[in-house]
């Protein structure tokens, strides 16, 4: 048994690992290499500067700012679409009429590209004739022209809303699939034990959806990094870096300021942070396996 398994592991893993190492791991390492240089991207020659780039991080006001924003972004980007998606999934799961139509409507945003999503939300937030402020004016009846994307206080969150709008459909779909996998007899137990709708969701469905949640969270995290595009288009990290994330900061330093070395250093840190996050995420995963696997 073991011998065969070993062989099969080799056969099955070979291809994925090769592709992954060549096209992801290796580039990562080599870009990490630049984090020890002062390369500016254009010149063919650069000096080895040791840990200078890393020490510089601690004096970088913008890095700190970006870190905080990234934290906010990540948390919101994971929480909002997940919760919303779950809610939608639960609503749709109750076999209402036209659920297929609803499903499609909620999923639609994912089909749109970041470019157009970003642009349309810029138009929604447009202070003078944007949809949002117009609506607010309709409701309150008095002039309202708050510039959502232009004020440091609201820029990041405004983007998060747009982002959640686009991503919710995804988690919804995953959860819908997950719901069908919930063993019916367990739900029957709830019926007999007289669980209220809320209790059923709270004590049985949500826990049993954990495998789906694992996936949804993973997807959210990936996308939250894809979220770079939409952030880039809506605020470009502005106004004055108030919506910078680490990815954005790294981009600015590398591609706008031509500090390739420093940019790489930032991405190294970013990667380490990511690793720890996954570490935690993984513990969770292990537990999940033990219970549901």
């Amino acid at each position: 048994m073991e011998r065969e398994n070993r062989l099969w592991r080799l056969i099955l893993l070979a291809l994925p690992l090769i592709v992954f190492s060549v096209l992801v791991i290796w580039p990562l390492l080599s870009s990490f290499y630049y984090s020890f240089t002062n390369w500016n991207g254009f010149s063919s020659d650069y000096d080895y500067v040791g840990f200078e780039n890393f020490t510089r991080i601690w004096t970088d006001r913008l890095f700190f700012n970006a870190t905080v924003n990234t934290a906010i972004w990540m948390i919101a980007a994971i929480l909002l679409p997940t919760v919303l998606g779950l809610a939608l999934a639960l609503l749709l799961d109750s076999k209402v009429r036209g659920s297929k139509v609803f499903k499609t409507i909620f999923y639609l945003p994912i089909c749109l590209s970041a470019i157009v999503v970003g642009q349309i939300w810029v138009w929604i937030y447009q202070p003078d004739w944007g949809l949002l402020n117009t609506a607010i004016e309709q409701i309150t009846g008095e002039r309202f022209n708050y510039a959502w994307l232009a004020r440091p206080g609201s820029a990041l969150y405004s983007v998060i809303v747009a982002w959640s709008w686009q991503q919710t459909g995804l988690s919804m779909v995953i959860y819908l699939a997950g719901l069908t996998a919930v063993p019916s007899d367990l739900l029957e137990v709830c019926e007999i034990e007289g669980a209220s709708a809320w209790q059923r969701i709270r004590h049985v469905i949500i826990p049993l959806l954990t495998p789906s949640t694992v996936v949804v969270v993973a997807l959210s995290v990936i996308n939250s990094l894809k979220g770079f595009d939409i952030l880039f288009i809506m605020t470009g990290g502005g106004p004055f870096n108030s919506s910078d994330t680490l990815a954005m900061h790294m981009y600015n330093e590398s591609f706008r300021k031509y500090f390739m070395g420093y940019g790489s250093a930032i991405s190294v840190v970013l990667f380490l942070v990511a690793l720890t996050i996954i570490g935690l995420y993984f513990r969770q995963l292990k537990k999940v396996d033990e219970i549901y696997g």
């Binding site: 002062n38 500016n40 991207g41 254009f42 010149s43 063919s44 006001r61 937030y125 447009q126 202070p127 003078d128 022209n145 510039a147 959502w148 994307l149 232009a150 004020r151 440091p152 470009g236 502005g238 106004p239 004055f240 870096n241 600015n252 590398s254 591609f255 706008r256 300021k257 031509y258 500090f259 390739m260 420093y262």
Partner: protein, 396 residues
């Protein structure tokens, strides 16, 4: 003398691309070279060029913004000097002196030929000003303030500014500084030899703050793109906007008629004895150091700048000014002609801020402007902050 010449450029958008391809066509017809072009939207263009440079596979020719950015690439040794070609083609006689001096020479070598350039002035909606009973345009600061006051009284916001993408705000800083501290000082500042918390800078910013305090600017400047601002002027919600000549291209596109619907006046003088300076960007063409086809590249550059038909057509399409002195001014519409003459008359042509100072510093400055527009009252903190950031950026 043939072969393929590769070129990257940021002249995208339906208008830009079509016009540029026409010029390419001209070149190909005139020579045996074939061009392989790669257009990239200008936001991503910087990234694209950087990545390709890092992979030392820059195209033979690529368009870039004259000034600190080209300086930066030249310093990195990624560009090919074109002194010989310059001599042979006698470009010194072809290219407007004011531009040639500042835009083409770096570290004592010629690297760039200007493809076209723009000029930033105070563009205004004729109808609005007429309605406010304004007949002649201010030439000095008090006159300008008076004009703004008058317009405000008339119920129109005097100045539209759309600094969502940060750079539109820079013209205010540029002109205020140039008209007070003068080009000399500004050059020092741009080169890191002066600090952002110098009294000169403070004064300029104070004047700017004065304008905002008086409520001359449209609300939420940071929320509007420069086109939003231009639209406000076009619609008559606002009267004037400090913008580059490309606005004419945009307005004409919307169907406004130059000279009738809109016009411009140069940024008014403030202190006497300060050299009259025009501000604007220069779109240039440069050759990569390791170009596969340098001969073809040089031929292309020479053709593009020397051929007056190309220059005429191109500058028209772009709503830009030609760097070629031989281009018949009658090609320009009244407004552009005025701009042309203004530049001609001015003693100095300076690049706008983000082209005048090294990219890392430019980032600092642009953010500073945005931050200022968000809350002018914080001007002092903003400046001291900028001072430290800028000096740090220069150190790197």
């Amino acid at each position: 003398q043939s072969g393929e010449v590769t070129i990257s450029h940021y002249f995208t958008g339906e208008l830009g691309l079509r016009a540029f391809n026409e010029q390419i066509k001209r070149f190909e017809d005139a020579t045996d070279y074939t061009l392989k072009d790669s257009p990239v939207g200008h936001e991503d263009y910087k990234t694209d060029i950087l990545v390709r440079a890092s992979g030392n596979s820059l195209p033979d020719v690529f368009s870039y913004w004259a000034g600190a950015r080209v300086q930066f690439i030249a310093d990195s040794g990624a560009l090919l000097p074109i002194d010989d070609m310059w001599e042979k083609a006698g470009l010194s006689k072809v290219i407007a002196g004011s531009i040639a001096a500042s835009a083409t020479e770096y570290n004592g070598h010629r690297y760039l030929v200007p493809f076209n350039y723009h000029y930033a002035g105070v563009f205004y909606n004729k109808a609005v000003l007429d309605k406010a009973g304004v007949s002649e345009m201010p030439t000095d600061w008090d006159g300008f303030l008076a004009l703004c006051e008058k317009l405000k009284a008339a119920g129109v916001t005097p100045l539209a500014l759309g600094s969502a993408n940060r750079w539109p705000a820079q013209f205010w800083f540029d002109y205020l500084l140039l008209r007070t501290a003068g080009p000399e000082y500004r050059a020092h500042l741009m080169a890191g030899e002066a600090s952002y918390d110098d009294p000169e800078v403070k004064r300029a910013m104070e004047m700017w703050k004065d304008l905002t305090d008086k409520g001359y600017f449209t609300e939420n400047a940071n929320a509007d793109s420069w086109t939003d601002a231009s639209d406000k002027v076009a619609r008559g919600d606002a009267a004037m906007t400090l913008m580059g000549t490309w606005i004419t291209g945009y307005w004409n596109g919307l169907g406004l008629v130059p000279g009738e619907d809109y016009d411009f006046f140069p940024f008014p003088a403030i202190d006497s004895g300060v050299p009259v300076t025009s501000v604007g960007p220069v779109d240039g063409l440069v050759i990569a150091a390791n170009a596969a086809n340098p001969k073809g590249a040089e031929a292309f550059l020479e053709y593009m700048v020397t051929n007056t038909d190309v220059q005429a057509a191109w500058s028209k399409a772009q709503g830009a000014l030609s760097a070629n002195v031989n281009v018949d001014p009658s090609n320009y519409n009244s407004v552009m002609l005025k701009a042309f003459n203004t530049v001609d008359d001015s003693e100095v042509f300076a690049f706008n801020y983000d082209l005048a100072t090294p990219p890392p510093v430019a980032e600092v400055g642009l953010s500073m402007f945005a931050r200022f527009m968000d809350d002018p009252s914080k001007v002092n903190d903003i400046l001291s902050q900028a001072a430290t950031d800028a000096s740090a950026a220069f150190k790197q």
